[in-house]
Every structure is written in structure tokens, then in C-alpha cells.
């Protein structure tokens, strides 16, 4: 395994060319996500597809950087020990946050409605003690 690295040292010239190729691939991928992100049709009609595409492109870019620039393609099996558990931990974190934080507005409780950001759905303001507003500090919409 370890002599892969030494073997790799043998052909330097081709490596520089390889890195430049990877760089161009990365530039093209960046352009793709830029076009997707700015395409009105995609981001307004089917934003989920647009976002999925952009994340897929990002993953492809990340893979290119990791494999070639960070040389993981040529490393021994230790690479799995370090990268896989770390990646799993990060995915777990996302999954663990989802029920409590990610879905906190799927069901509006009375209290959440009161402090929600969106005024269009929230008609329950009763902040009568707003000092600065002077005589305007009356209650407003309650349906």
C-alpha cells in the first residue's frame, strides 16, 4: 500500500497536468451551479430540483478536491478510518436536529404563532405594553 505513494513520485510531470485538469473540471462545475442557481425557471418552479442539482455538483467538486488535491486517491486504507466516522457523525447531527428544530414550524402552537417571523400568518399580536409607540400601542388584529 505504502509504495503506491512512492510509485506516484515517479511521474511528476503527468501530475501537474492532472491537477490542472482537475482545476478546469472544478471551474466547469462551479459554472454549472452558478447557472442553476441563477436560472429563474428552475429556482422558481422547482426549487427542490435546483437545490438538489447544486448540492450534487458541490459533492462532485468536494470529491475531486479530496481525491486529487488531498491525494486520498493514492493513500492507504487508513483514509477510511478517519473520514467515514467523521462523515457519519456529521450526518447524524443533521438527522438529530431535524425533529426538534427543522420541523418546529410544521405545527404552529399558539405561542409559536405569537413570535413567528411571518406577519401574514400571525394575527395574534397583543403587545399592549410597547412603550415607544405612544398612543399606537393599542392592540391590533385579532382576526
Amino acid at each position: 500500500m505504502s509504495d503506491h505513494e512512492q510509485h506516484d513520485d515517479g511521474h511528476h510531470g503527468s501530475n501537474v497536468g492532472k491537477f490542472v485538469m482537475v482545476f478546469f473540471a472544478l471551474c466547469i462545475l462551479t459554472t454549472i451551479s452558478f447557472i442553476v442557481g441563477n436560472s429563474e425557471a428552475l429556482m422558481q418552479n422547482t426549487p427542490a430540483i435546483g437545490r438538489f442539482l447544486m448540492i450534487a455538483v458541490s459533492c462532485a467538486k468536494a470529491l475531486l478536491v479530496i481525491l486529487f488535491f488531498m491525494h486520498l486517491k493514492w493513500e492507504a486504507n487508513w483514509k477510511y478510518v478517519l473520514t467515514i466516522p467523521a462523515s457519519m457523525m456529521s450526518i447524524f447531527l443533521l438527522v438529530m436536529l431535524t425533529p426538534d428544530i427543522g420541523c418546529r414550524y410544521s405545527h404552529y402552537s399558539e405561542e409559536r404563532l405569537l413570535f413567528a417571523a411571518d406577519p401574514e400568518t400571525s394575527d395574534h399580536d397583543s403587545h399592549t405594553e410597547a412603550g415607544h409607540a405612544g398612543d399606537a400601542a393599542e392592540e391590533h388584529p385579532t382576526h
Binding site: L26, F69, L82, M89, S90, G102, Y105, A137
Partner: protein
């Protein structure tokens, strides 16, 4: 004792004690990779939290890039700069391996410069947020979640403070006092109108005029926004005239509110002050139009979920920028060295760290600029 043994081995050259290292890589590289695996979890935590908060925000409230002065071009430019720096640092290492110290140094220097370009663009972007009153935290932050009485109170306070300060020119003074008439109208309507929808709408109109969010146009100004705006301006004018008629009686007593001390004659024409809807379509509300010549006042803005946006944006980009700075520090320390083959391992380790910083930006760019 050990020296003796050493000599002994050397002398005979028969006994070779080979110590198999735990990993087929240098200790430095092992440590760096261990560090990077913790970094993966660190940034995955931040990015994951951002994703969860963004998609868990009240439906339809998360501000789009243009709502908060995020310009895709600068993000794309920074992505390109980081990609270039990634390829230059890897080439620096390659040339160091070939023992071409000069080439290695010039590539390392290019990386160093590109890193600073990234930081420069980042600073410019941060500054454009700060100039618009977008901060992660009060008291500087002017972001309000919704147009309620707190919001109207904040607008009044900002205008009054400005009126009482020495800064305003005669023209600005007139504009501010005219705007205070609108605020007064909003307050009175929000407090006394018999129709609850009209009460909320008065406050929404104020928020929309100051900082128009595109998606709010229909709900705030109705199907014919331009006509509704004319109607509102006429209403404000008659309201202001009524206020002015009542003023002399108030002026006898010590004035409590700032705007009662201003003679009605010095007020700006409301119709000229309030931008037409056509002008406002590109987020060109009062905040932008008042500041078209010089930056003198920024009023509180209604950006639903804007506070959460600001917190996550500054946290993510801020931590990334700190990592870039650390990378630049390392480049600065390594640059004076002779980058021969002996330093190839060092360059590889720094390169690994730098690629990781690039990797994080690869995910941040679409999420913060394009989503």
C-alpha cells in the same frame, strides 16, 4: 549502554531492527488528518445546523440572496479565487518534491496573494451588509421579524433621534419630518381603525415603503400598487394637514415629540419623497432612495427570518474566514524558508489544510448565495 549497542549494530550491519509505524505516513500528516476529521465534524455541524434552520424557518420567510444584499457574483468570484489557490498550493508541493525551490516558492506566494484576495472580497461583502444595517446582533442590527407596533416604534425612534441630532441638513430635516407624519398616520391607524385588516396593513405599508420585499407587494399594496400608493399619499397629505392645523395648540405647551417642534412649512412633499412602486421593485425602498447621494440614514427593516439569516450567515462565513486567516498565517511563516524537497512534507500538510478550507467554501457558496 544504548550507544554501545548502536555502535555494535552499525559495526556488524547484520541486525536491522525495523519499527513498523502505525500508519504508512509521517506523524505530522497523521496529526493533520486527525485534526481535519474533527474539522469535518465542526463544519458539518455548522452547515447542518444552517440547513435545518433554513428549511425549518416559518414557510416562505427565509430571505432570498437579494433580500439581504448577497450578490452571487462576489460569491462566484471567491469560489474561483479559492479554486485557483488550491491548484497553486498543490503545484507548490509538486515543485518542492521535484526540488525546484524557486518554482515552489512562487506558487506558494501566488496562493498567499489569492488568499488575501479572498479576504478582501469577504471584507467588501461584510461591509455592504453592515452599511445596510444587517448585523448578526442588536443593537446595531436593524432587522425586524414583522411589522408590528415594536417595529413602528423603532422607526419613530430612529427618525426622532435623527431629527434631534445636529447632523441633518435643511433638506434632510424636511424629509425626516415628512416621514414622521407617515409614521404618525400608521400609529393612529394601527390604534384606532375599526377594520383589523387595515390596522395591520398600515404597519405593513410602512415596512414595505422602507424595505420592499418583492413577495410582499401583492399582500401589502393590492392588485394595483401604483394606484394604491397615490391613494395613500393623498391620505397622508390630508392627515398631515389636519395634524398641522392642530399643532399651534400643542406648541404652546412644551413639545414632547420631536416632530411637533417642526413648522409644517419645512416639511418635504410626501409625493416626491415616497418612491413609486415601479422604482421600488428592485428593493429600492426608502432606505435606498434616501441614501442615493450620501449615506445618512438607515431605517429599521422588516425582513422575516432575517435575524436567523444574519446569525447563520455571519457564523458560517466568519468561521470560514478565520480558517482562511490561519492558512494565510501558515503561508506567511513558510514563505521565508527554502522550499526544497525536505520541505515537501510541510507543504503537503499546509496544502491539506488549505484544501479543506476550499472544500468548506464549495458547500457554503451554493447554500448561502444560490439557494
Amino acid at each position: 549502554m544504548s550507544e554501545h549497542e548502536h555502535d555494535h549494530d552499525d559495526h556488524h550491519g547484520h541486525v536491522h531492527l525495523e519499527y513498523q509505524p502505525a500508519l504508512p505516513i509521517s506523524n505530522g500528516k497523521t496529526c493533520l488528518w486527525l485534526f481535519l476529521s474533527t474539522e469535518i465534524m465542526f463544519f458539518a455541524g455548522l452547515i447542518g445546523t444552517y440547513i435545518v434552520l433554513r428549511f425549518g424557518a416559518p414557510p416562505g420567510t427565509w430571505p432570498g440572496p437579494h433580500d439581504v444584499h448577497v450578490v452571487e457574483f462576489w460569491g462566484a468570484l471567491n469560489t474561483f479565487v479559492l479554486l485557483c489557490s488550491s491548484v497553486t498550493i498543490v503545484l507548490a508541493m509538486e515543485y518542492a518534491k521535484m526540488n525546484k525551490a524557486g518554482m515552489a516558492k512562487s506558487f506558494l506566494f501566488t496562493t498567499f496573494v489569492l488568499g488575501w484576495v479572498f479576504m478582501g472580497v469577504k471584507a467588501y461583502e461584510y461591509n455592504s451588509k453592515f452599511a445596510h444595517g444587517i448585523y448578526p446582533q442588536k443593537p446595531r442590527s436593524l432587522i425586524y421579524e414583522k411589522a408590528d407596533v415594536y417595529y413602528v416604534a423603532a422607526v419613530r425612534q430612529k427618525l426622532s433621534e435623527y431629527l434631534l441630532s445636529d447632523e441633518p441638513t435643511a433638506e434632510q430635516h424636511a424629509q425626516v419630518s415628512a416621514l414622521l407624519d407617515v409614521v404618525r398616520w400608521v400609529e393612529v391607524t394601527a390604534a384606532t381603525d375599526s377594520d383589523p385588516v387595515a390596522r395591520q396593513n398600515a404597519m405593513d405599508v410602512l415596512a414595505y415603503l422602507i424595505y420592499p420585499l418583492h413577495r410582499d407587494s401583492d399582500t401589502v399594496l393590492g392588485t394595483d400598487p401604483e394606484a394604491r400608493l397615490h391613494e395613500l399619499v393623498a391620505e397622508w397629505k390630508s392627515f398631515a394637514e389636519k395634524q398641522a392645523a392642530a399643532t399651534p395648540a400643542v406648541e404652546a405647551a412644551p413639545a414632547a415629540d420631536a416632530e411637533t417642534t417642526v413648522a409644517p412649512a419645512t416639511k418635504a412633499d410626501l409625493a416626491a419623497l415616497i418612491p413609486s412602486v415601479a422604482q421600488m421593485s428592485e428593493h429600492q425602498g426608502l432606505n435606498e432612495l434616501l441614501n442615493s447621494e450620501s449615506h445618512w440614514i438607515t431605517l429599521p427593516m422588516k425582513i422575516p427570518s432575517g435575524n436567523m439569516w444574519a446569525s447563520t450567515y455571519f457564523l458560517l462565513t466568519g468561521f470560514h474566514a478565520i480558517h482562511v486567516l490561519v492558512g494565510l498565517l501558515m503561508f506567511g511563516l513558510v514563505l521565508p524558508l527554502e522550499l526544497t524537497i525536505a520541505k515537501a512534507g510541510l507543504l503537503e500538510n499546509i496544502g491539506l489544510y488549505w484544501h479543506f478550507v476550499d472544500l468548506v467554501w464549495i458547500f457554503l457558496f451554493p447554500m448561502l448565495y444560490l439557494f
